[in-house]
Symmetry: C2
Subunit: 68 residues, 2 copies
């Protein structure tokens, strides 16, 4: 699960819910600028920031054991 992948997942989920980046920014409290960077895979967000976004789009962060 790389940084690009995480950004991509947020973006996909946001698209499914028909939420715009601007709205996600307002709903999450994370700046539009940062959201763009995260979705583009250019950012290395903190857990807090990622959680704010995840919550708005109905997701959550998990730390799971790798089976391989």
């Amino acid at each position: 699960m790389g940084i690009e992948e995480i950004g991509e997942q947020i973006k996909q989920r946001r698209d499914i819910l028909h939420i715009q980046q601007k709205d996600l920014a307002e709903l999450s409290g994370v700046s539009l600028r940062t959201i763009i960077q995260i979705e583009s895979g250019l950012a290395n967000p903190s857990i807090n920031t990622l959680q704010k976004l995840a919550q708005v789009v109905g997701m959550q962060i998990q730390l799971v054991i790798k089976n391989k």
Copy 2:
């Protein structure tokens, strides 16, 4: 999944594997100082940092859809 919970999970997993904080620091490239802070729930790590630790203890970050 809060920050305290994440730190706790890393710590638990590290204990199971009998890895010391110092060794986790060397293996992951994350400073001992930072590891202590994360495990104590005092830090808000970046995805990169968390991934470095997770990998050493055989875990991975996932972004999953909340079913509730």
